[in-house]
Symmetry: C2
Subunit: 356 residues, 2 copies
Amino acid sequence: MGSSVDKRVTLADVAKLAGVSKQTVSRVVNGSENVTDETRARVLHCIETLGFRPSALARQLSTGRSQTIGVVSNGGQGYLVTGVAYLGMVRQADRMGYALLIKEMMDFSRGSVRAMLDFLIERQVDGVIWAGPEIGDSHAWLDDFDLASLPMPFVAINARARKGVDTVSFDNFEAGRLATRHLLSLGRKHIGHIAGPHDRWVSQQRLEGWHAALAEAGVPEMARNVVEGDWDVTSGGPCLQRLREICPALDAVFVSSDRMAVGVLAEAHRLGLRVPEDLAVMGVDNLPESAFLIPPLTSMIQDTPRMAEVALRLLVRRICERRGEPYPEACAKPESTTLLHELVVRESTLTSGRGR
Amino acid sequence: MGSSVDKRVTLADVAKLAGVSKQTVSRVVNGSENVTDETRARVLHCIETLGFRPSALARQLSTGRSQTIGVVSNGGQGYLVTGVAYLGMVRQADRMGYALLIKEMMDFSRGSVRAMLDFLIERQVDGVIWAGPEIGDSHAWLDDFDLASLPMPFVAINARARKGVDTVSFDNFEAGRLATRHLLSLGRKHIGHIAGPHDRWVSQQRLEGWHAALAEAGVPEMARNVVEGDWDVTSGGPCLQRLREICPALDAVFVSSDRMAVGVLAEAHRLGLRVPEDLAVMGVDNLPESAFLIPPLTSMIQDTPRMAEVALRLLVRRICERRGEPYPEACAKPESTTLLHELVVRESTLTSGRGR
DNA sequence: CTGAAAGCGCTTACAG
DNA sequence: CTGAAAGCGCTTACAG
């Protein structure tokens, strides 16, 4: 309802009331030693009285640093992952004294990328996390862009490693290989793969892992048992059907997301297929629910919040390095920027066990 | 790697090169009409040549507006909801030309609240969305805080309505009542409720709705069939067990989240209880997976992204009102700030149907 | 320990 | 249509 007097209280107001210079007030605010206890007390009292709150904007303008990190995501693609990743980043940023400025991109044309970078530069963010998943040539601009010309460090997550670009990603090739090996180790002879969209780097990597495992095992003929899903639970059922058309004897399926695997389990149930006896099923992501599906779902743990944290630490380190400042302890330990999935085996691939 | 020359290109640099005043460059940058085509062309060319990018910080300092909205969430509590809500807010903010500054709170003591508000004021955000769920007395400060004294508008989501505070929330009382009525309408005689944590406003409201529905139906004796969960899937099973101890004849259960309901379905399956014949089960949230559980889960649709969007629109409207500026079309339509859940009935409560 | 001056890079009236 | 001046609210050397 009522609007307050919009007159901001400034350093100068405090200075006048306390009968000192602005500089002295600034010293008190920033905890400088070089102030008499008496002066400090008086200034603090005046700050309290006037309800003075320093303008971060003004400070940023004069110091040239914003204590803000820009995070660029993309329009609801990667829905789940983005949401979870945000939480990991917010927490880590908070710990290190940074705020997150969140922006979203709808397309990845050169123009849009340039506009987004300009926006971040104009806002003077101290660093950038490029968080949209790599789709088609969405990251192609990185190949011929001189990142060093940006006034701030840049880290990409969930993207292919590139020369001269700091990236933090999961090893999806290894994930695909491990998953496939697991199904092979069960003695299944007719394994299929429900992949994510083929234009996603993540999907491509898992698919390559799948191929590698089949080649290693000397059963390359299975490689054709692949259909393309869209990550969504709704695509699980239809994908299973298509896979069974390609390979009627299908007895195991490596699904590229737990979401889709839920759809697969539902469809298998509808078809009267027993899991895992008739069909072993495994996913990727290890959602909280996955251990409680019927049957409990074997999956690949993907610790997304951790990826977000690692990326943020790396970025803060780069920020400090560029400024020639020491970086926080937490950023010091050389941390792998390639994270591994971890297999968690449950009933959906275990004929005998009681896995949970 | 290489570091760029850190000399920022400013308005003054462009002005000098173009042989005009800073003011004229400013006019060109801000698309003012009062510039000769020839001058404009020359200035634009110089901007291009120098790679000039205006400093948003400097502009913010002189204009007093930041085109930034502060979003305050809380430490991973409400994990799922927060993640999903972020996405709705980011999208809407982007459309309206605002960026989101995300902050997290770990506790809700007066001191922390004050510090957070100060931080947001210092950053000169144009408005604030208070997005942490109401837990215990986490929002009590609002009762005796003069929001009008804040220099910017404030909107709380997922919180109890308070005099003088703009809030956007779901009607959880109605949700609880609708859910309970649905189970009663099936003719079930021994219904139980797995609530969320009792210190959550959301849980309390749903619980009251549960009580109201039972009273209306003249079966208040069922009201004692309540146990407390923690929202997490892991609590579903243990809660079902406790409920069956309280009420051995239990034949229906209203679970306060789909997550917990997944645990309930798993436990029921383990116990050999048929759903819905022996036990009708319903949840709240309508997760994407819920339609594909075994059996498909009846739930209450809660459109969290929409809540986030509505809140953001309301906030932008308040921002404009306070400044005496016209607000965007999208913010104009008087929108309810109490959103309703919607019942979606599936097999888990339908003995005959094939609902999906 | 304290202060006067200049500067960060824009915008806002006010002249012409 | 264009410009000189003052101001937004801090901080950074530099004196004393």
